[in-house]
């Protein structure tokens, strides 16, 4: 057994951490306060090559392995969770299907510019009646000649109003449930594409989240992202474990940010004549947080390693996402207790971490759905 990161991975983590401390962390407070998407920073990330993290070298990618990728997600979430959600979308779901199935035109006109940070990408899953229940997707794609016509309404779309193109989950046959699902590329400037309500969010601010509407949008055949019709759910399955694992890494990063600030506060804040870090109840909090973060990290990186090795890990990936998120929620909660009344003031970051952590409970699968799945896998169908 070997739990050590390679020398290369250690170097990568350190260099990324320094970059995040320099470029992102100083802007985290303003990104959260204003809720505005920092387009200049996003562009700079493109120039630095971060959006190509998981993509092939031919399209400008780094081809980073799962473990190395997680190091990146952890560091960016530590610096600014709001911005991390935008970056993660661009690196992963926003561009994944283009990278895998994009035609030469799509690759040149959309994927490569997206990797350079010149175009914004996102994915459209959720609808009013479907979220975790993807089989209930109602956005309909019907064949017309060689191409497709797409109609439907998507909700909770990251970068809804800013994206240049969408990867849209739609059914080509509602009677088939999961087996009728497909992913379509929809460019923002196509006739029939519009955006609706913008959501005011509790946390993960800094991206515009809202509705995207498709009204009889005509698409050429190449915009079906896949080798054949009805394979959408299967393709999603190929990346699902990694997405959950990446979500867990975001949770670890956010927990680390909260932990580090709480630690500094506990060392400096004096109450009853001594730093509060000298009190056993405060020490106990750090002992517990640190232990649980360590456990969550081990499970998360173990899953990344299993993905790297091609070992099936669907259940374990759900467990990692769930454990890391629950630990993160605990760490940010303890942070607000360590900060005492100051946690209630916007002047201190404890409240920001607390709000941001809630996002993790829903993104990457609610824990109610994940627990049901894990339990079913363990017990089996009776």
């Amino acid at each position: 057994m070997d739990f050590a990161l390679t020398e290369e991975q250690l170097f990568f983590r350190k260099t990324v951490a320094e970059t995040m401390d320099r470029l992102v962390a100083p802007r985290a407070e303003a990104i959260d306060r204003t809720g505005e998407f920092p387009r200049d920073l996003f562009r700079q990330f493109g120039e630095l090559g971060y959006f190509g993290l998981r993509h092939r070298a031919e399209v400008g990618g780094m081809e980073a392995d799962p473990v190395t990728s997680l190091l990146f997600f952890e560091e960016i979430a530590r610096a600014s969770f709001g911005f991390a959600t935008a970056v993660t979308m661009q690196c992963l779901m926003g561009t994944y299907f283009l990278g895998r199935f994009g035609s030469p035109r799509i690759t040149e006109e959309l994927l490569k510019p997206a990797i350079r940070g010149e175009k914004i990408a996102t994915i459209c899953f959720t609808e009013d009646q479907s979220g975790s229940d993807l089989g209930a997707t109602r956005t309909l794609a019907r064949r017309e000649g060689d191409g497709w016509v797409l109609s439907g309404k998507k909700m909770w779309i990251t970068q809804a109003h800013l994206a240049d193109f969408y990867t849209v989950l739609a059914t080509s046959d509602p009677s088939k449930g999961m087996k009728g699902l497909n992913f379509f590329l929809v460019e923002r400037d196509r006739t029939g594409v519009s955006t609706g309500q913008k959501l005011e969010k509790l946390g993960a601010r800094g991206t515009v989240t809202g509705e995207v509407l498709f009204d009889e949008v005509k698409l050429p055949a190449e915009n079906l992202l896949g080798e054949k019709e009805g394979m959408g759910a299967s393709y999603l399955g190929d990346i699902l474990d990694f997405i959950r694992c990446a979500t867990a890494a975001l949770a670890l990063g956010l927990a680390r940010a909260s932990f580090a600030d709480s630690l500094e506060y506990a060392r400096k804040r004096v109450a009853f004549g001594k730093p509060i870090g000298n009190y056993q109840l405060i020490r106990s909090k750090f002992a517990e947080m640190s232990t649980e973060m360590e456990a969550a990290r081990l499970l998360t990186y173990c899953v990344a390693w299993e993905i790297q090795k091609g070992i099936p890990c669907r259940v374990k990936a759900c467990q990692a996402k769930m454990l890391a998120t629950e630990v993160c929620c605990k760490v940010v909660d303890e942070g607000t207790r360590i900060y005492g009344g100051n946690a209630f003031a916007h002047e201190y970051p404890a409240q920001r971490y607390f709000r941001d952590a809630r996002f993790l409970l829903y993104g990457g699968g609610t824990h109610e759905v994940l627990k049901d799945f894990i339990g079913r896998e363990i017990i089996g169908r009776l």
């Binding site: 990568f12 260099t15 320094e18 970059t19 320099r22 630095l48 780094m62």
Partner: protein
């Protein structure tokens, strides 16, 4: 002509540092020295004008490789480390090792920070220049360079002064010389795959050179004395403070 940038791995300014029993312990958080990083940036900007390669060179233990890799990720072409077996604490030995390394690399222009982030002695640049027999300009604020030489301005007490010189030379970087770039991911990938050239003391002509300085013993600075708050308006407080400085502390 090649440029050599001398870089040092120093404790992160935010690392926790403790002194106990005469020894220093530093939290495991190290970075490329701030002024050295500026020197790397300046070297990269001059690379085209000088038509040569940029070397990053460090003298120290294997742990120093990480700052060399950072320089490589930023855009340096080659990286080398002198493995110092003994007397790494001695700035004279380090400077001699670095001068030998510059000679081995065949660089005609040497850049480094005006001072390191830990000892802050400002010794390395001038000492390397002396060992190499190169002219040296310290605390450089701005620089225009071509293949033959450069001119610019440097910091002096209370102001700046101009300079002009021909290569070879040693220049030390001040804060305003350049804003270091962030390493791009392609640079990081290159840095992750490129091995560090390791040179022995013999390779750089350091064998048999005795150190001038003994390893230091550390003492923690005295704790801060009692703080006395002076109440009142700003004017009242200022008057009270002057009175205390005159009559009690007798420093005025």
């Amino acid at each position: 002509m090649d440029i050599a940038v001398l870089v040092k791995r120093v404790p992160d300014p935010e690392a926790r540092v403790a002194v106990s029993g005469g020894t220093l312990s530093v939290e495991e958080k190290y970075v490329l020295g701030m002024f050295d990083e500026i020197a790397v940036e300046q070297a990269l900007r001059m690379k085209a004008a000088l038509v040569g390669k940029v070397w990053a060179i460090s003298a120290g233990p294997p742990a120093a490789d990480e700052v060399l890799r950072k320089a490589l990720a930023m855009g340096a072409d080659r990286i080398a480390r002198v493995e110092l077996r003994s007397a790494a604490h001695d700035p004279w030995i380090r400077a001699k090792a670095l001068a030998g390394a510059v000679k081995k690399a065949g660089a005609g222009l040497v850049l480094c920070g005006k001072q390191s982030g830990d000892e802050e002695a400002g010794f390395t640049g001038p000492a390397v220049a002396a060992f190499l027999g190169f002219p040296c300009v310290t605390r450089v604020l701005s620089l225009q360079a071509d293949a033959k030489g450069g001119k610019g301005r440097r910091e002096v007490e209370g102001g700046t002064e101009g300079f002009e010189l021909a290569w070879p030379a040693v220049l030390t970087a001040a804060r305003k010389l350049a804003d270091p770039r962030v390493p791009p991911i392609m640079g990081m990938m290159r840095a992750m795959k490129t091995p560090v050239e390791v040179w022995t003391e013999k390779d750089v002509g350091l064998e048999g050179v005795a150190p001038l300085v003994q390893p230091p013993a550390f003492e923690a600075p005295a704790g801060r004395g009692k703080v006395r708050m002076i109440p009142g308006t700003a004017e009242e407080a200022a008057r009270a403070l002057v009175k205390i400085l005159r009559e009690e502390s007798k420093v005025l």
